[in-house]
């Protein structure tokens, strides 16, 4: 069975390759960075495609069936197991999905997809921890920018600016950082076109 791994996150695709390499019946093909998903499917003729949901070029696989001009012989369909709907929900939650390229009776994709789900879920947990750390930093930056703009607009000091945002947040039952984001988008003079 030929499996195309479409994921530009090299750490994750390495880990997935290692995981699946244990199964000798699988031939693994990696999508190289910058190659369009649909071109890779055309070129490598895989049976199964595992796709990172964050890829913007997933739409192209939809077009294989719907558009007559897509010149692909074998239909590509999102893998759906009618007996196990949670499997796909888990896959989407983890950030991966699986397509069958059908010209022969579909084979059992479930073990493959389950392996991918657990791996993606693990990466997602790590990523979420990183994101949280990153978010704390960028939230601090955002609050600083909003305060600076407020101080300039209202000609006041930092303490007063902070009090204003805190009061606004309490009144609107929102987080201070959300109030600051709204203030920035609504008050910042639109930058001149940088074309």
């Amino acid at each position: 069975m030929r499996v195309l791994l479409a994921d530009e996150n090299s750490g994750r695709v390495n880990a997935l390759s290692d995981l699946l390499a244990a199964d000798a019946s699988l031939t693994l093909i990696r999508l190289t960075a910058g190659t369009a998903l649909i071109d890779a499917v055309r070129q490598f003729q895989p049976d199964i495609v595992l796709v990172d949901l964050a890829r913007p070029d997933r739409d192209a696989l939809d077009s294989v069936r719907a558009l007559s001009g897509s010149d692909m012989e074998r239909p590509v369909a999102l893998f759906v197991d009618k007996d196990d709907e949670h499997l796909m929900e888990d896959a989407f939650e983890a950030g991966v999905c699986s397509y069958n390229v059908i010209d022969t009776p579909p084979r059992d994709v479930k073990p493959l997809l389950r392996a991918a789900i657990s791996l993606y879920a693990r990466f997602r947990r790590t990523q979420r921890a990183l994101d949280t750390a990153q978010k704390t930093l960028s939230e601090r930056d955002l609050v600083d920018r909003a305060k600076k703009l407020f101080m300039k607009n209202e000609r006041c000091g930092e303490a007063e600016a902070y009090r204003w945002f805190r009061r606004q947040a309490m009144r609107e039952a929102r987080k201070i950082v959300d109030v600051c984001a709204s203030y920035l988008t609504m008050q910042a003079p639109a930058a001149e076109d940088t074309k």
Binding site: D57, D59, S63, L67, A191, E192
Partner: protein, 298 residues
């Protein structure tokens, strides 16, 4: 009581009512706790609705119908809540894109998804150019915010997409707007907001609150004096809750602009959806019976 809802949308100017309702507090005022999910592609919107990652989405009717029927996965109950916008799409071509090419290759034209109003518009446009429209071009699908790059890199020769991407291509001088919703299919329904059946069942009272918040936002979006606020919201960085749209092009296509394909939000003066449904039948996507059973009333 507060109802939570995850609304999916793409980086497009016609997503504005949802952003406005969020930033101006209309959702909150109506007891809604909204998470806006900016998705990378229409496939992610459709799959998100089908596989329980989204409760609602800003979407065009053909994709909503095909998703509800389970043509991309499992069927999912979808209720159209209201019409958010009409028209606003444009077709952009590189100079000479439809002329016979020296290597005999057909030009590649992109639409945002196979099951899109954009595909229907492009098909009508090509049919006006040639009786053998299907042979005139190869049609491919890609997300709207990737089309400028694709056109610049010669991966496509033109596209049909929502605002502001057509105007943005003209601004950059990489293509020319040759037609748009206004000239091909005036006042067609473009974006609607759909909610999943499961969300509506669990939040019976919140549907009306959601509709009301979005109607207020639509009224705000249509007032010309609010254009600067909309421009700021739509062009703000993603991290600040904006959509990072290009500034000059966005300013050009909001209500009040002189552009033929400037946006109009809401359902006023939209044409009936039946011709759109007939074209979907004609293309073999759906049968009249399936549409009847779906009870998808716009």
């Amino acid at each position: 009581m507060t109802a939570s809802i995850r609304i999916g949308l793409l980086r497009l100017a016609d997503s504005a009512p949802v952003l406005v309702a969020d930033h101006l507090g209309y959702f909150r005022r109506n007891g809604l706790n909204v998470s806006i999910m900016v998705e990378p592609s229409w496939s992610n919107i459709a799959d998100g609705l089908a596989w329980n990652r989204l409760d609602a989405a800003v979407v065009f009717p053909p994709l909503a119908i095909m998703t509800a029927l389970g043509r991309r996965g499992r069927p999912v109950a979808l209720d159209p809540l209201l019409i958010l916008s009409k028209g606003g799409n444009t077709i952009v071509l590189r100079h000479g894109a439809l002329e016979p090419q020296p290597n005999g290759q057909r030009p590649r034209l992109a639409v945002v998804h196979p099951y899109s109003t954009h595909f229907l518009l492009l098909r009508r446009y090509l049919a006006m150019k040639s009786s053998t429209a299907d042979d005139l071009a190869q049609i491919v699908a890609m997300p709207p915010d990737t089309m400028l790059d694709a056109l610049r890199d010669d991966r496509i020769d033109g596209f049909c997409a929502g605002p502001p991407w057509g105007a943005a291509a003209e601004h950059e001088g990489i293509g020319r707007i040759v037609a748009g919703s206004s000239s091909i299919w005036a006042d067609h329904i473009e974006k609607i907001l759909v909610t999943t059946g499961s969300w509506r069942e669990a939040n019976a009272d919140a549907s009306e609150a959601l509709r009301s918040a979005l109607q207020d936002a639509i009224a705000f979006c249509n007032r010309i004096e609010n254009r600067d606020v909309l421009v700021r919201l739509l062009t703000a960085p993603l991290a600040d809750g904006g959509l990072a749209l290009p500034l000059g092009a966005t300013r050009e296509i909001l209500p009040g602009a002189t552009n033929h394909d400037a946006m109009t939000f809401g359902s006023e003066h939209v044409t009936a959806p039946e011709p759109m449904l007939s074209e979907m039948v004609e293309l073999g996507w759906v049968t009249p019976m399936e549409i009847g059973e779906l009870n998808f009333s716009l």
